[in-house]
């Protein structure tokens, strides 16, 4: 076997993949052969590094150099300089926006400093299509030891003591969930992995499946053993082709190595996994809807009880866990519950992966210990607000989460604190908004997602959310009344109180939390007919300052609806009735004479 002196790791996550990381990998391989370095340098495609903002990422080892925004054309230089001459390619290193210094080791970058990667431990480290790299990283060791100890209840106790809670959103204790399913005797049970990631912007489950599929397989087998299931099902979105591809490879390899199939590790335990494809319905992330969808029924939730642990897939006891939850399981077993429970807050242990997005410098996938504050996430990891703007709010928990303001910045993030603050953990979307975001529009944006994705089963969600969205639309168009605000608030409360499933019950959160935290902004829209953030088109007014206007006629000529009048070299005027607020005049004016009110 070749004794490589260098490893080049190239991110093969969907984001970097889209910006030609496959081509980069190919170029490296070619150049390495050309330079006769194939015995010294190993080129590896890995899962996501998380720092998607700066992708494609190439990491050089053993010196841990982190190259960002690499193009296929850069490969030659990297090999020539970094490997042959031992000099780092400065221009490809991360430039710290504060110190303006190039950082070569990702550990010294603000983005990674505060992170603790447990669920993502292998993402960006191993080749996800090579089971041997997973095995080398203690892969399947947890499964082996669980099977050797042959004490399913004991393993469940470990998870309970570790304090692992479901990472899909609701935060139900995983060990307890397994125990409930274990207690129900049946000839067949099912261990189901929920990979129907649907929150807009969230992609942690996809990244885990793309970067470390074996950890999910191993955890499912452990779970199967604990609850007494010999069948595993992964319900995965059909829109995740790369994750499906890697998962399939991983399952095949695991079977080949005897880690799936009959008599695993020579024991009586047999377990195998099948994939089921979801058609991209958000509601199918809800476990009963997911199960119905797998059964070929309409993907809509049913009332619980019966819980899946009693009556799940094909009416058999079933356990549904999310991808990220599974990814934590093998590590907990390998390192012990004491280690895991030492991380995090009192009631939320371990770490949580967040998809950081919005008006923030470092967009990407991060994993931080529970209890990290929003401020640390936004300012240290996220590198602060883009373009030096002011922070306004952060939206957590996906479309059914809530918007949190500055006063919550120092709140340690965990399940209970987020709920207390009027939002939720959800699957871990985190969208940062700056001062130019109109909170009414933000609420409407999220609500519209729910309106689209509601299954339509219960009336509050089917009709109520539509009505809320219509009222919000009315407000952003300047036609809202104070009575509308009252009605909106009542609707939001009633929907939360009466909807059938988690989706419906949390759907009013964006409205409720923005109303709680930005009431003045709502009132401004309704009473003053103004959008303080200047986002609502209908409430904008373009005005020409007669002092500054030189009468150059540029605006009048550019106006698509002929709403600007005036004579040459005289101040012009905008006919507000005719104005469609397209902003063309604003852009055309060379004298800053046009302002938005």
């Amino acid at each position: 076997m070749a004794n490589y002196k260098y490893h080049i790791l190239i991110c093969g996550g969907t984001g970097c993949h889209a910006s030609q990381s496959a081509q980069i990998k190919e170029n490296f391989e070619k150049i390495i052969v050309e330079k006769n370095l194939q015995n010294d340098v190993q080129v590896v495609g890995t899962g996501c590094f998380g720092f998607c903002e700066k992708g494609p990422i190439v990491k050089m080892l053993p010196d841990n150099t982190f190259y960002t925004q690499v193009t296929p054309e850069d490969c030659n230089e990297i090999v020539q300089e970094h490997i042959i001459k031992g000099r780092k390619v400065q221009r490809l290193l991360y430039l710290d926006p504060k110190s303006q210094e190039h950082k070569s080791d990702s550990k010294h970058m603000g983005f990674y400093k505060k992170q603790l990667r447990i669920a993502l431990r292998n993402c960006g480290f191993i080749d996800p299509e090579n089971i041997e790299e997973y095995i080398a990283r203690d892969g399947y060791k947890a499964l082996a030891s669980v099977l050797e100890q042959n004490d399913p209840q004991g393993t469940i106790e470990v998870l309970k003591k570790a304090g692992l809670r479901g990472r899909g959103g609701a935060g139900f204790p995983t060990g307890l969930k397994w125990e409930l399913c274990r207690k129900n005797a049946a000839d067949q049970k099912y261990m189901i992995c929920n990979a129907d990631e649907g929150d807009p912007g969230a992609f942690m489950d996809r990244s885990i499946l793309e970067g470390d599929p074996h950890t999910v397989i191993e955890a499912m087998a452990i779970g199967g053993f604990c609850i007494g299931a010999s069948k595993g099902l992964v319900y995965i979105r059909a829109e995740y082709p790369l994750a499906i591809h890697r998962l399939r490879i991983a399952i095949d390899q695991a079977r080949e190595y005897g880690l799936l199939g009959n008599n695993i590790f020579g024991t009586d335990f047999s377990f195998d996994i099948e994939l089921r494809y979801g058609a991209g319905a958000f509601v199918c992330g809800e476990e009963t809807a997911l199960i119905h969808s797998m059964e070929g029924q309409r993907g809509e939730p049913t009332f619980k009880p019966p819980f899946p642990a009693v009556e799940g897939y094909l009416k058999k006891p079933s356990n549904v866990n999310n991808v990220e939850t599974f990814a934590n399981v093998p590590v907990i077993i390998n390192k012990g519950w004491e280690w895991f429970s030492s991380i995090g807050t009192e009631k939320s242990k371990g770490t949580k992966v967040f998809a950081l997005a919005g008006q923030i410098n470092n967009v990407g996938l991060i994993e931080v210990p529970m209890g990290t504050t929003l401020r640390e996430v936004i300012y240290e990891i996220g590198g602060g607000i883009k373009n030096g703007k002011k922070f306004k709010a952060v939206q957590t928990g996906g479309p059914s989460g809530g918007c949190l303001t500055e006063k919550f910045l120092d709140t340690p993030i965990d399940y209970d604190n987020l709920i207390a603050a009027g939002s939720m953990m959800g699957s871990g979307g985190m969208i940062v908004m700056d001062e130019t975001s109109c909170m009414v529009s933000v609420a409407k944006f999220y609500l519209d997602f729910i309106v689209e994705e509601s299954c339509g089963k219960c009336s509050p969600c089917r009709i109520g959310n539509k009505r809320m969205s219509e009222i919000l639309d009315k407000i952003t168009k300047g036609n809202g009344t104070m009575e509308d605000l009252e009605r909106l608030k009542n609707l939001a409360k009633v929907i939360k109180d009466t909807a059938l499933c988690g989706l419906g019950q949390t759907s009013p959160n964006p409205v409720l939390s923005t109303m709680d935290n930005f009431w003045d902004e709502y009132v401004a829209h309704v009473v003053d007919k103004k959008c303080p953030a200047g986002q609502c088109r209908a409430l904008k007014q373009y005005v020409i300052d007669p002092e500054k206007c030189k009468g150059c006629t540029a605006c009048a000529r550019a106006c698509p609806v002929g709403a600007i009048h005036g004579t040459v070299k005289q101040p012009h005027e905008i006919n507000q009735e005719a104005c469609i607020k397209c902003g063309t005049c604003y852009e055309k004016c060379k004298f800053n004479a046009i302002s938005i009110k």
């Binding site: 089963k457 009336s459 109180d497």
Partner: protein, 595 residues
């Protein structure tokens, strides 16, 4: 029994474990309003999707309100069904439902009989807060099929029709499509009902709380026919109508209104008022003879004869096997249904007798059924394009006609059916409920085979409301294995058994509707009250007992028609007029799915 104690509105109540809050509350007289919930225990109908959220109640200690219809009582639960939080939620939800419902109550077929309307009255809804132009209503294409009108703009997504169509009938014509606000109940690929596997049983219509699913109304056509002086109008009334029509006029469920019904039809101006019971007797002669013939050959070892023989008087059931089991079309009796036998005789034998040309005769049927509307339009039941039965109207439509004509039904003096197609027996009456057809057949077959009088006319072992029943009748040493199914999911079970060679039956009676015709898709709406079903069922057997003649072959008018017109049962003329054949109507939808 394992029970739980809980408190509802400050009152303690003890109920069996597994009881829902809704039922526990009902047991102490607290009537929690519902909309989507629909259960008829004695017919095995259960629709409780927990979807409308009207029945929400407060359970102390729970974060959200709980739907009473699906939440099970737990020990020491404290439930509040009428706190202001509950009332506000309930009313807000109802306002939402109303906001996506057309306000055309005045023209709606369900006006006055609509569960949503009643709910709006009950919760005192006086305004629609969502009537601004910014508020949309979901709109769908109105669809008119031969039996059923689907006006999905009125749909409240209670899913009752879906439950009936899929769980009860296993037809699978209707299910939810789309999601979110546009979500609605429809056929696969939104195809026309006639292209779907729909059997037109009308059970969806029977349970629809609003006007989304209604029958095709033929009252105007009937009125025009009566007013047309050139036409001779002949009307026939199905057995189950007489035990249900009274409900429409405030009578006690189970009232037998045969005499008033006849009087009302005469008052409406029909020229001849006849009874489908008469043709039911005729059906027994034909079908019974066919059974005896097939049975004799079968027992003699004739391999070309297949048993069991399946009854064929239910048109929805005929549609069902044509769609779902076309390869078994040699099993059902070839005898036409009583409605069609009547039409065929009325427009031949009777028309000749009174000297009216077939084209000048309009034959109307009053049926508890919506599939009959479809049936009378089938091409094989027409002569030169002229149908044997022109219009089939439901019990509900007849009630509408009577009300429209300002007839005081309750005080009408009773009248008798006209002769000769109005004379009937108790055997004809029991066609109206599950088990009745086969009992009528056995009464006749027994005497025909044994040439001995029946020791006991009432075959209690064939009666009941259980979904699948079976009995072995000793016909003088010949053990006749009889199966009975009502509700098409039960029929499916028996058919699957036959297919798999597990069936030991010689004859099976199948009725598409749960309960048989007494709960047909065209009957007065029972709104889930199972006492009504039970009362109708008892009334059918009471009417049978009150008949002087109770065996079809003893009907003198039937005996006469064989003598003077038909010759013998299953003879040449019978075959021409009273028997039919079946078609393969399997629905195949070819979907091109890329692998």
């Amino acid at each position: 029994m394992d029970t739980v104690k809980l408190t509802i509105d400050n009152r303690e109540v003890e109920v069996p474990r597994g009881t829902t809050i809704l039922k526990a509350a009902q047991s102490i007289g607290i009537n929690i309003p519902t909309l989507c919930h629909f259960e008829v225990d004695n017919l095995g109908i259960h629709n409780k999707p927990g979807a409308c959220r009207i029945c929400v109640v407060e359970v102390v200690g729970r974060r959200n309100l709980a739907p009473a219809c699906v939440t099970e009582c737990m020990p020491d639960m404290i439930v509040r069904t009428n706190s202001m939080r509950v009332i506000n939620a309930r009313r807000t939800v109802l306002e939402l439902i109303l906001s996506d419902h057309p306000n055309d109550c005045l023209q709606c077929a369900k006006n006055g009989n609509c569960e949503l309307q009643k709910l709006a009255i009950r919760l005192g809804v006086r305004e629609n807060p969502y009537n601004g132009e910014e508020h949309a209503q979901s709109t769908y294409q109105l669809e008119v099929s031969p039996s059923i009108i689907r006006d999905m703009n009125k749909c409240v997504m209670c899913r009752r029709c879906e439950t009936m169509c899929n769980q009860m009938q296993t037809v699978g014509a209707l299910s939810a499509i789309e999601r979110g606000f546009p979500a609605v109940i429809s056929t696969a690929f939104n195809q026309h009902l006639e292209l779907s596997p729909c059997t037109f049983c009308g059970q969806c219509v029977a349970v629809c709380p609003v006007g989304a699913l209604t029958e095709v109304d033929h009252t105007s056509k009937v009125i025009r026919a009566i007013t047309d002086e050139k036409k001779t109008t002949v009307v026939q009334v199905a057995p189950a109508v007489r035990v249900a029509l009274g409900e429409e006029f405030g009578m006690k469920p189970g009232s037998i209104v045969t005499g008033k019904l006849t009087a009302a039809l005469k008052a409406l101006g029909f020229d001849y008022v006849f009874d489908t019971d008469w043709s039911a007797d005729l059906t027994i002669m034909e079908e019974g003879t066919e059974l005896i013939g097939r049975l004799t050959k079968f027992l003699a070892g004739d391999k070309s004869v297949h048993l069991p023989i399946l009854t064929s008087c239910c048109p929805a059931w005929v549609n069902f096997f044509e769609h779902q089991f076309p390869d078994m079309e040699d099993l059902p009796s070839t005898a036409k249904s009583p409605q069609q036998m009547f039409g065929a005789i009325a427009k031949s034998y009777f028309a000749e007798k009174i000297g009216v040309k077939r084209e000048d005769m309009v034959c109307v049927s009053v049926m508890p059924c919506l599939a009959k509307k479809y049936e009378c339009g089938r091409d094989e039941f027409k002569v030169n394009g002229n149908p044997d039965v022109d219009y089939s109207i439901s019990t509900r439509e007849l009630a509408r006609l009577i009300k429209m004509a300002n007839i005081d039904f309750n005080s009408l003096p009773e009248e008798k059916f006209d002769s000769p197609l109005g004379e009937s027996t108790g055997a004809g009456v029991i066609f109206g409920t599950t088990g009745g057809v086969i009992e009528a057949a056995v009464r006749t077959a027994y005497e025909v085979i044994t040439k001995k009088p029946l020791p006991k006319i009432d075959f209690e072992e064939l009666r009941g409301l259980e979904g699948v029943r079976s009995a072995t009748i000793d016909v003088d040493g010949l053990k006749l294995n009889i199966g009975i199914a009502h509700g098409l999911h039960n029929a499916r079970k028996l058919l699957e058994d036959i297919k798999a060679g597990r069936s030991h039956f010689h004859a099976i009676e199948i009725m598409a509707c749960p309960g048989g015709c007494i709960d047909g898709g065209g009957q007065p709406l029972h709104h889930g009250n199972q006492e009504i079903i039970k009362a109708r069922w008892e009334a059918i057997y009471r009417a049978d007992r009150e008949m002087p003649i109770r065996k079809s072959h003893e009907n003198p008018s039937i005996q006469a028609i064989y003598k003077e017109f038909l010759g013998e049962p299953c003879g040449h003329k019978s075959h021409e007029l009273l028997h039919t054949n079946y078609f393969d109507k399997q629905t195949t939808v070819v979907v091109d799915v890329e692998k």
